[in-house]
Symmetry: C2
Subunit: 288 residues, 2 copies
């Protein structure tokens, strides 16, 4: 079409697709272009705003590394990451929640009942539960990949004082599907706010806080992998997680346990004389 | 809001704005998030597609330099750059058209009637016209910043064999508002297609061609600056410019001129014995 106008540009875009274009590519790219065009028309996007948007992307590109991905963070604070999670959540399974940019590959193995915190000090938290199918039957041999921040609020990849596997572990459960590990209670923390995404948050009058959480990737043969998190029900940021990760079924009570009650059969048995906290969090996987 | 769902996430996003947030930021960011959410829901965006999108942005970030801006190119092939141009075009003025990523700052001055092509060989094209206001009155002292590809289809910033100011010039017109320069007739060329944007074009079954054109930025005290292009009416890609830049009023006939007819008073007078082509392209600026 020779004369492109502000009213026909979406139609022109669609007209450029090749005849053999994959239908899904056509659907996704066509919808993407249509929404971008509608957005620009609706807000009457100015050249200056367009340039700011491009500078935002250039800046994000310059600072993105394997350790800090500003594009993932952008997707997180816009709610896109959470929305994609929710679109593919299975109602009968545990809700999925944001992966975030801090997972590391090949975490070290930790036996059931092991201690994730190594030498770090802080309030001991015992995390346990059963990995089960949607009928409530335990899944033997399921794997749970777990990670969290250190007590200073930083993940290992953000903190030169931690080794890269600090607060990262992979646990394989036995016949009873039960996992358990000790750690220090995670803290609320801020997403990185010294880059372009921080600029968006500031312009929007938003804080960069996430409620305290532990991350999990749970996988088992014959089941859909689950990426999720668990949150304590008394966190002040629970109602305003800056990356939209909170779901009702992921909010748990961390129960204070009295001194001397630490259970047997765990790596820290006999080493936790004082009070500690415990959270029971069962993880339900949907069939593949 | 504690429980974010796929249906309320846009509302939650809007609820996160601070009370003092600038109304325009609220409007633009709110509409951006709403369209991104609607897009993801509408196509039921998968995790794999989401990851591909992020990898696209990461790749674009890695290869973007001051000389090659893959984000601008993305905006171009999605039609966003052209749409923003059209949203702010003044109907009585010459249409604006894409700036593209190949403009250079501080181009060297060229007198009216000068030769842009220097030592390059090819069909001589004489480009001339009047810079005028919407009432048809010439604008004395207006400036015209012009650039194009060399005969090999490459801009200076893409081609180590050209100096950076090759086929770039800034002309200041006199009292009559008239500009004129000689060059070689630009060729159709492809946008860079060896990066992630090239992957989009390929997946969409689209070619990377643009019709032949010259770029202009026209500016004058008291007038809105105009970024535009001129296209010959016999170009095979006129109906399918991959960056959506063609407008009716920017398509001109390049008239073949007989040998020996080259006009006096130009830098190349007496040096163009054979046939050449001429295009008359008046440029109309709107008041600031």
């Amino acid at each position: 079409m020779r004369t492109v106008t502000k009213d026909n540009i979406t139609e022109v875009f669609t007209g450029y697709f090749g005849e053999d274009t994959d239908p899904r590519v056509r659907e996704v790219l066509g919808a993407l272009a249509r929404h971008i065009h509608d957005f620009a028309r609706e807000v009457n996007l100015t050249h200056e705003e367009w340039r700011k948007g491009l500078e935002f992307l250039e800046w994000a590109g310059r600072i993105t590394t394997p350790e800090r991905n500003e594009f993932v963070l952008l997707s997180d604070v816009l709610g896109l990451s959470s929305l994609v999670d929710m679109l593919h959540s299975v109602p009968e399974a545990t809700s999925s929640s944001v992966l975030g940019p801090f997972h590391v590959s090949n975490p070290p193995p930790l036996p059931v009942g092991g201690d994730l915190k190594r030498d770090f000090e802080g309030e001991v938290l015992l995390v346990e539960g059963v990995i089960q199918d949607t009928g409530g039957t335990p899944i033997p041999g399921a794997q749970i990949d777990v990670w969290q921040t250190a007590p200073n609020g930083l993940y290992s990849s953000q903190d030169p004082d931690q080794d890269i596997y600090s607060f990262h572990a992979l646990m394989t459960v036995g016949e009873d599907g039960r996992y358990a590990f000790t750690t220090v209670r995670p803290v609320s923390y801020t997403v990185p706010s010294n880059g372009p995404v921080g600029g968006i948050l500031e312009a929007a009058g938003r804080h960069p806080w996430r409620p305290s959480h532990l991350h999990f990737i749970v996988s088992a043969e014959g089941f859909q992998s689950l990426v999720t998190e668990v949150f304590p029900d008394d966190d002040p940021y629970l109602d305003e997680d800056t990356v939209f990760g909170v779901r009702d079924d992921l909010v748990m009570t961390y129960v204070d346990q009295p001194a001397g009650s630490f259970p047997e059969g765990l790596a820290l048995s006999g080493q936790v004389p004082g009070p500690y906290a415990r959270v029971d969090f069962d993880l339900v996987l949907a069939s593949a």
